[in-house]
Symmetry: C2
Subunit: 313 residues, 2 copies
């Protein structure tokens, strides 16, 4: 299961009681962050989560509101005695930009590793996650992300017996090993069924509503999607600034057939996002206005209480 | 009169409900900021003050918690349509560091000017302020600041008449001009008395309790001073990390004979600064624990309600 927290919902600048848009996920003791604006580390503390286990930080793009909090976060991670490496992932130019920002965070007690995208779509394996970055359409190079937590097939005793697999191998085969004894080869598919549905989360900001987003978000359990403007008369501004209106985001969610969508990255001028939800829900019923600290635990499809545990906000 | 707001009181890292230590002052429509940590721009908004009129930003030193909020602040000032120049003031290396941080705040609609200190003490005139920076003792080059608002002498009609100054010159002489008519020279001292007591504010963090601080804070109306640790058993740590305990700050305030002192720059481990004030007040009675947003309007000495209007916090 994947713990998901939308740390903030602001676009452009941090506001009192509205942190900059960023996402944090936790899986088996490993934490991942997407974007790190000014104040993101405070939002993490407010949520009650820890900065120490963050091993992966992804960036959608390099506008200040998505990366301005990085030096402070790295310093705090250092102060929390992290020693293990941290992987930074993002568009081309990432390492150079981070190294410039590190003029105020020079001596960290952990190494940084960098992965920069060279393609419009790129896949990365990270500590049990499958991460896919896909190019979207903003005023600068910008990527959305899908996080997939894969789930192997179910173990079938009958199948293992049918295939005459010695019981001493069952556990290791179930974990994916291939084994050999007395000239006979034993493979995982001799004891387990086909892979089961995993968990899929898509996160995307800042962009116009493009096909790469619809395609990559397809069938997500949750889509967290920018909606810079709620007001209908902001359509032209959304097009000019390469952002989305709530309604455009709703059409993306509908076309991608996601199970649920949270809006985020609100314009500072947008004071009450919930006021615009009526027309949004007409397009996509399972659309919700994101709130700072809004959380969910996404669970595997056939587990009990699938997607059941939502946080207090 | 000088509006003073202690924007935050945290040292090392921003915390929920405790912004990083920074000071903002307002005088005749011009605003000055000392230090700008991650979240300082939010603290300014929370106070209800505006980022647009900030024309001067001073830095005590370049540890992340004192400058990490600069790129975000500059971006927000740009978004608020500021066009007038902003002067940045601080230790040697300032321009280089700011230019590196500006990798995420490249296109500002206003010019930046830089003043870097070359001496242990340096004086600068800024929009009606007299600013003095003085070197203190931290792990890196670090300066404290005094802000003095000077006040000219009082105008005396009798004096002007005694000195046979034509009435048409009174106003201009009062403003400091020197005039000449029919071979006779008229100087300001012919109509006004000696300069009156101005307003003096001293701000200092991060440092050990050094003589330059005591000397420069002398007779301040208000000293805002770091006190990283309240606990008595943190004396050795304060010495090691080049910070101060509350008690050391109290001795500075006492020796400098300031009228009032606010403590700030608390260690994240210091949860309740007010719990340590009893022994502090035995050393210096007018010591108060700083709080985020704590404000005062310092007024000229012979004005009514001298230093009377303190904010809600």
């Amino acid at each position: 299961m994947l713990d998901v927290c939308l740390l903030g919902t602001s676009g452009m600048m941090p506001l009192p009681r509205r942190w900059l848009t960023a996402l944090m996920t936790r899986l088996n003791g490993s934490s991942l962050l997407i974007d790190c604006g000014e104040g993101t580390q405070v939002a993490i503390r407010e949520k009650g989560w820890s900065v120490n286990p963050i091993d992966t930080i992804c960036f959608t793009h390099f506008h200040g509101d998505h990366i301005s909090g990085l030096p402070g976060l790295l310093l705090s991670m250092g102060n929390s005695d992290r020693k293990e490496p941290v992987t930074l992932i993002g568009p081309k130019g990432l390492e150079k930009i981070v190294n410039q920002l590190r003029v105020i965070a020079p001596g960290l007690p952990f190494p940084l590793r960098f992965i920069e995208f060279t393609e419009a779509e790129q896949e990365i394996e990270v500590n049990g996650y499958h991460l896919k970055a896909f190019r979207v359409h903003h005023t600068v190079a910008c990527y959305g992300y899908t996080i997939t937590v894969p789930r192997g097939g179910k173990f079938f005793v009958e199948k293992a017996r049918e295939n005459q697999v010695p019981m001493k191998f069952w556990s290791r085969l179930q974990k994916g090993e291939t084994l050999e004894e007395d000239g006979k080869i034993y493979t995982p598919d001799m004891v387990i069924g086909p892979p089961r549905q995993g968990i899929k989360l898509t996160y995307c900001t800042d962009t116009r509503p493009v096909q790469s987003l619809v395609q990559n978000a397809k069938d997500s359990d949750l889509l967290i999607c920018e909606g810079m403007y709620g007001e209908k008369d902001k359509q032209a501004k959304a097009e000019e600034k390469k952002h989305m209106t709530f309604l455009e985001a709703a059409h993306v969610a509908k076309d991608a057939q996601v199970k649920e969508m949270w809006l985020t990255h609100y314009s500072p001028s947008l004071l009450h996002p919930e006021e615009y939800m009526k027309s949004v829900k007409k397009v996509f019923d399972k659309a919700y206005p994101g709130k700072d600290g809004k959380s969910i635990t996404l669970e595997f499809a056939d587990d009990e209480n699938r997607r059941g545990r939502e946080g207090r906000k």
